[in-house]
Symmetry: C2
Subunit: 907 residues, 2 copies
């Protein structure tokens, strides 16, 4: 039988830190710590594979593994000198989950295992503290009852609260040993009533049941949701870690705490953490008692503090990363309970990486790998405008638990947040959060709690999600029932706007203005410059339609514009009337007149883009959307035509305003407009008369756009700007379409540049690959194309036969059933769409080895998709300006893990 | 320099019959005839390549080729003993087009070349017939003027008609030599006026100009249209055949004629043709004089007739096919001017093939190759119901020129026919047709002309198109201006219905009923049995939704049902209300109630199909269309909701009727319905919530359909019918979708068959491959699929990103620009969609070597697509019942030309 149970302790271990796969993160960490000579309670890990075997084996652990566990238990008993269930020196155990990837708070833990009617008495006698012994027992009964026996928490709380009421006390600690003994009896009765069986007194039975309950918690709702959110596979399972209990609640010489070797919110190199005297671990993270800052431990227990600093320093050096640790002091003896690489905010991840590289702890390459590209998002988003904050009332200052600025409407339950977040940005306001709030936290822009510290559930989860978060804002009084809170004389109701600053801890009433982040300075700029070093010649461009966006893109490091959608210019208020007139024109001559007006406007837009991108390429796509998108909607026109004969004067006036005509003209205008709209009506606009199909039926539109582009080129180039224009023809499915449009663009380009004396001005004409046929016939299309740019939004829609807008109707079911590995519109479907993309790159380069290839769909800013683009040999990705740094980092990481593609790249 | 001019005559030839590519059909035929010792006027062919060179060379023939032609001309002069332009014995020439593929009447011909002011006198003296000489000259002037000088025909006619008016005569032949001399002078003046130059008297100049004009006629409108219709490539060009003139118009001992070795309309083995005494060739085909049947030549010129029969018999044996020939008798000497394989109707093609095979002239294999699959169409369409004909007034009997029954509304011009044919079946009624009518003939269901014979333009073209046609119906008096005809006391106006029988020549007033063709008897059945012999194991199934269609399909030879669209059953009048109720159901329970009602109905439909297909497979597709297709249209509901408050009692009553409710309920029903319709509204229904996506969100629908299928299986199988059910899941894009639906179907199948004691009943569950992702991931999908069926309608739409319905908006431009090789919805786009199909077959079989693969898109009945499916190793095609024989023949032909695929086939 394969080894499935791994012991550790006393400076030895069966496993080691590299065995996360099989031991889980926690188990591997404990083994590694033990090997490193760190003082920790001994124990053993039942492997992640056993979790899978348990489910496959009909929720039962095979006997051979039970036997291995028996052996490990005997070793543990030897190491501690105690015995499970002993009437003289009983061993108490904790049983904790621990998967390969950290899933904080998502699965179950059972503490104080081994308590029963016998051991409670022994513990009472040995500690000389009957209240402590009874409290351990009742805690175990409650945890075991909830977790292993599926009895609802409320039922235990009801018994407990009834006793408090009976004794007329407020705090748990006000109940004495006798009260707790009564509660224990009631708890045991509850177990009997709910399960039909007596509470199992045998600790060996308790152990097996607890271990199995930990395995089962892999599939509880919040764990499954968290995995979905974090993209953790369902198949890997969790280990169960069985460890000797040590007690932080043995009195004033005992304590328990958690900490980080550096600040996980900001990355600052300060010792960071919290502790509670005379408490068990869950008291710290549960947020029920607000714990003390770790620095104060130096006063309370100076020797322990010194030892803790030494151990954690060596842990950070050992693991070469910031550590998140748990410790317990039992009667002045320090035990490390856990250490792991700490979760961190985006800003912290970046600062840690840069500083550790500078300290020489890690290499620059490692620093680059330490920041998940998506984490950069938090550094790129707006911060509060200082002037704007001055106009708002500050309500309170809490603990700054996760940095960043968030503005939203208040909601007081996870459900309400989820519902409201579809319509407006939302802030989740709670007394404290629990794992049940996870969906609400995900949907909220920011989180505000009244109690809890930097290690509370809210703080930990918010940092993981990159959500701004303030905890322990004790001045606010929340009435979750009435859905409001009061603070500093104000009453803030559900739906009211507040602004929270997770960097300062300040809470403001109202909507604060925000300023854009500045990515050109400080550690961020330094980090990105390292990333660019490793990225090599793989380029990152931005999708930008107007000069302002182009400037932002440059600031974020874009090396050109990968997609300018000219139709976005058409929708501008001063242009739309000309566009509409152009569409309604009854002949080519009239249409050309309208186009002439648009020409002037487009030319100046293009000139602005070229100036902003001096020295970098600008890809301009010719008109793409179907013409009816510029006109009123057919069904609204039909309704208005029906309504008109019965409309009141007021209604007519409104109608006239919306159609931009006089009331008297409505009678003729509406049916005329409807007729044209009917002409243009399409059953499937996505697959209709758009893209190059427009340019083919209305060549004068392509002509106008080509003229605007090259006149702008001439204008700007003459001023000394280096212009690199690339004209992109959309929705090509056949090389003949491209050839047709190319001929038009080329003729205009030669004419305009010739006249301007710029015959040597370089330009390219290429195409978007966004329908499957283009990918399949890319070898043919490449004969006419100077470049390809993959429009993976539309390519995903056509390849999957799935309209992005209509998918929302049934995406919930599809997500629940996991039909797709991820949302195909967010993450490139490498198994399907990606195969076509790869095929197209190969076919295209087989015809034209120096074909420039990029991507301009939204996937161009999604890290795993960027990695894919890098690997298959694309020359660049293009994404929204704010995602440019993310793409730069993702590309650098792809380069560092040595993905192929460099050989294929042409740029 | 490559040889580009090929001489023939006097029993020799530079080329031969196999050189159609370079000599064109006519040139190759003349060379072959000459080699066979057939008497024919000598001449030479300027090759098809020269046509291409001419256009590439700026509409000029290079000097080296001119030199070759000079040499050939000298040979020709030697062979005839005459000299071009000679003042003693002038040679006259014809110049005719002749491409690789026959394009009758589409390009230009020039006769009597060599006439000028000198030779007209010589000819007059030599023939002792000044009128004949002058007539030759004026004909040449007119033809040369029109064709080589682009002078409008009407201008010549005007001069000619003016002379007739002046002389007060009716017939051309009433003008005497002097009149013609005056006309010649006016013609020459016209040439001077129109071109600014004198008419070229030099016959060598005439020859070069005529040859070039023939080349240019390759690109005239009607030729280009014909090529498009017949799918002849534009690149191949035409040859120019220069041949010594012989004269059928030298008096009563001269004649000209055309004929076929067998009847091209019916295929009957009779000598068939027409001639005119004292006429030139174009008089016969122009339809101006009605010619005499060829049999009468035996009376007029018995020796010539005997020689003609001998020659044409030997020609048929030589070419091993029915011949279409032209001849001229010049002063009792017979010359063959041309021979070629004759065009024929579908029925004739089939009869010829069967009879020639039985005669031993050709093999059975050759017989199969002799019939174009599309020609079978003409044999599969309805014939008039005899009883129905008795109720109609017979207007006239004309010449039965192309068989078949046609019913339609009368229209009197090609333009009107084209316009009207969109709305209704149409018959084109004309005095006579010209090549300018070709689009109208194509759009018409049948053609009726008042004049002309079996070789007239109308007759020849109609047979080529397979359109029923009656010519020479002399009793009808057509007023094309007033758009009516009168006949037998009736006046038939534009838009009135008539019925024409191209097999009998009868014209009826009104709409005759038709009966279906019987494909199970006679030559047709025999021919198809040969085809099936060669087809091998490649199957042909039919798309059929109801038992009646299934029975028709069996009659036409379908070996199973390849696609049963269950939703077609949903649209039936008695079912739609249950379907609507099902969609409007607010919960699963109510929905299941409605489904229960549909279950009973579907079960009996399926039972009917299984019975009709005893022993053959039946592929049933689960529900495919989006649910909103079953509900009223959104925009109509919006209009009705707007209208309701203002509606009159009558309008309300109509509304209530159309929504199937009481007037009083409208106020609630309309907004409720609109709400549900809004819920279901989609931007791109083609890419929306349909196919398996419905079955996934509403598993109860799939359950119901599976139950209906397998309960029907059980019911019918118990009666001894051999049922082979194949359940097909539509619109699968990911293997997980298929697995989900398969699990549902399988569970129901096992349950129902188990209960019925039919555990061994075989069934398959497979999927439609109709979106690109399915093709790309076919290896994964095949792990769950027992079979694939390609839905090439949708696969074409998604692969090309092109909605079939919306394509009509710009298909005209696309056709004109030849963006696609053919209509991709009619002919499978092998270069794009086909590549995906081929990839999917390979990937699918790589996972599951015995995967059954077929096609059920409309391409399954299109010959070139069937050939493709055969070649890539599909097991079967499925098409509409009426196209089954076409597919059987196309498959047999693919097998006979030795296309690969047999090795891959599994069935």
């Amino acid at each position: 039988m394969k080894k499935q149970v791994f012991s550790w302790g006393a400076g030895t271990a069966d496993g080691n830190g590299s065995m996360k796969e099989i031991l889980g993160g926690k188990g591997a960490g404990l083994a590694e710590m033990s090997l490193a000579g760190i003082p920790l309670p001994p124990g053993f890990t039942v492997s992640t594979e056993v979790c899978t075997i348990y489910f496959e084996n009909g929720n039962k652990v095979p006997q051979e593994i039970e036997d291995q566990m028996e052996v490990a238990l005997r070793t543990l008993e030897e190491r501690t000198g105690k015995k499970l269930g002993s009437a003289t020196d009983p061993l108490l155990l904790s049983v904790r989950s621990g998967a390969k990837f950290s899933m904080p708070g998502m699965m179950n833990t059972i503490l104080n295992l081994g308590m029963n009617d016998v051991t409670v008495k022994v513990l009472s006698a040995k500690s000389n503290n009957p209240r402590f012994a009874n409290d351990c027992y009742r805690r175990f009964l409650q945890m075991f009852g909830e977790v292993a026996l599926d009895i609802h928490m409320e039922k235990f709380n009801h018994i407990f609260d009834a006793m408090k009421a009976k004794r007329k006390v407020k705090l748990d600690t006000d109940l004495n040993a006798e009260d707790l003994a009564l509660i224990i009896e009631d708890y045991k009765k509850l177990v009997k009533k709910e399960t039909g069986k007596e509470f199992p007194q045998d600790p060996h039975v308790q152990l097996k049941m607890s271990r199995d309950a930990v395995f089962r918690s892999w599939w509880n709702d919040k764990a499954a949701y968290y995995r979905k959110m974090e993209k953790i596979p369902d198949e890997i399972g969790t280990a169960a870690n069985v460890q000797a209990m040590v007690f932080g609640n043995l009195g004033e010489t005992s304590a328990t705490g958690v900490g980080f070797t550096r600040d996980p919110a900001t990355g600052e190199n300060v010792f960071y953490g919290e502790f509670l005297i005379n408490a068990q671990g869950e008291d710290v993270v549960a947020g029920i008692r607000t714990p003390s800052p770790i620095a104060e431990l130096n006063k309370a227990m100076p020797a322990v503090y010194k030892q803790l600093r030494e151990i954690t320093n060596s842990l950070e050096k050992h693991y070469r990363d910031m550590q998140d640790f748990e410790f317990t002091v039992e009667d002045n003896t320090l035990y490390m309970l856990q250490t792991r690489n700490g979760k961190r905010t985006g800003p912290a991840a970046l600062r840690l990486a840069v500083e550790m590289a500078k300290e020489g702890l890690i290499t620059k390459q490692e620093a680059i790998m330490r920041v998940a590209p998506a984490q950069l998002d938090q550094l790129l988003h707006p911060v509060f405008d200082a002037a704007s904050l001055k106009t708002l009332k500050m309500l309170s200052t809490g603990i700054a638990a996760s940095p960043g600025a968030a503005v939203g409407r208040c909601y007081f339950s996870a459900e309400d947040v989820v519902a409201a977040s579809a319509k407006s940005p939302v802030i989740l306001v709670r007394k404290e959060t629990t794992p049940n709030d996870i969906a609400g936290m995900d949907a909220a822009k920011g989180i505000l709690t009244a109690i809890g510290g930097k290690s509370s559930h809210a703080a930990v989860v918010a940092r993981g999600m990159g959500r701004p978060c303030i905890v322990g804002a004790g001045e606010i009084r929340i009435d979750e029932h009435k859905k409001l809170f009061t603070c500093a004389g104000s009453t803030v109701k559900e739906g009211d706007w507040i602004s929270i600053d997770g960097t300062t801890g300040n809470v403001y009433l109202g909507q604060a203005k925000t300023n854009e982040a500045d990515p050109t300075r400080g550690e961020f700029a330094e980090f990105m410059s390292w990333a660019d070093e490793f990225r090599g010649k793989f380029g990152v461009r931005a999708n930008a339609d107007i000069p302002h966006d182009a400037k932002v893109a440059r600031k974020f490091g874009a090396e050109g514009i990968g997609l300018c959608r000219t139709e976005h210019m058409f929708f501008a208020e001063d242009r739309l009337p000309h566009v509409v007139a152009m569409i309604l024109a009854e002949n080519v001559k009239d249409r050309k007149k309208c186009l002439q007006k648009l020409l002037t406007m487009q030319r100046s837009d293009f000139a602005g883009l070229f100036k902003a991108m001096d020295g970098f390429p600008v890809v301009i796509r010719t008109l793409d959307p179907p013409l009816h998108e510029f006109l009123p909607k057919r069904e609204h026109l039909m309704v208005d035509v029906t309504k008109l004969p019965y409309a009141t004067a007021k209604e007519k006036k409104d109608m006239a305003a919306s159609y931009g005509c006089a009331v008297g003209e409505l009678k003729k205008k509406l049916p005329d407009l409807l007729k044209r709209v009917e002409d243009l009506h399409e059953f499937n606009p996505m697959l209709g008369h758009r893209g190059c199909r427009l340019g083919i039926t209305y060549p004068e539109i392509t002509e106008m756009q080509a003229r605007a582009i090259f006149e702008a080129v001439a204008q700007v180039a003459k001023k000394g700007v280096k212009v690199i224009p690339e004209v992109m023809i959309p929705l090509v499915g056949s090389v003949k379409e491209l050839a047709h449009q190319k001929a038009i663009v080329k003729a205009i380009a030669e004419e305009v540049l010739g006249k301007a004396g710029l015959k040597d001005q370089h330009y390219m004409i290429g195409t978007m690959i966004e329908i499957p046929r283009a990918a399949i016939t890319a070898d043919e299309i490449a004969t006419e194309a100077d470049f390809f740019s993959f429009g993976t939004n539309d390519l995903t829609q056509t390849t999957m036969g799935l309209s992005r807008d209509d998918y929302t109707k049934f995406s919930k079911e599809y997500e629940n059933l996991k039909i797709f590995a991820a949302d195909p519109f967010g993450v490139l479907d490498q198994g399907g769409v990606g195969k076509l993309v790869e095929m197209a790159v190969k076919l295209g380069r087989s015809t034209k080895p120096d074909l420039e290839v990029g991507i301009c769909g939204e996937h161009g800013g999604e890290p795993s998709s960027v990695e894919f683009c890098y690997r298959i040999g694309m020359d660049y990705v293009s994404c929204s300006p704010y995602r440019v740094p993310i793409a730069r980092l993702a590309a650098a990481q792809a380069a560092l893990v040595g993905l192929k593609g460099e050989a294929n790249r042409t740029a």
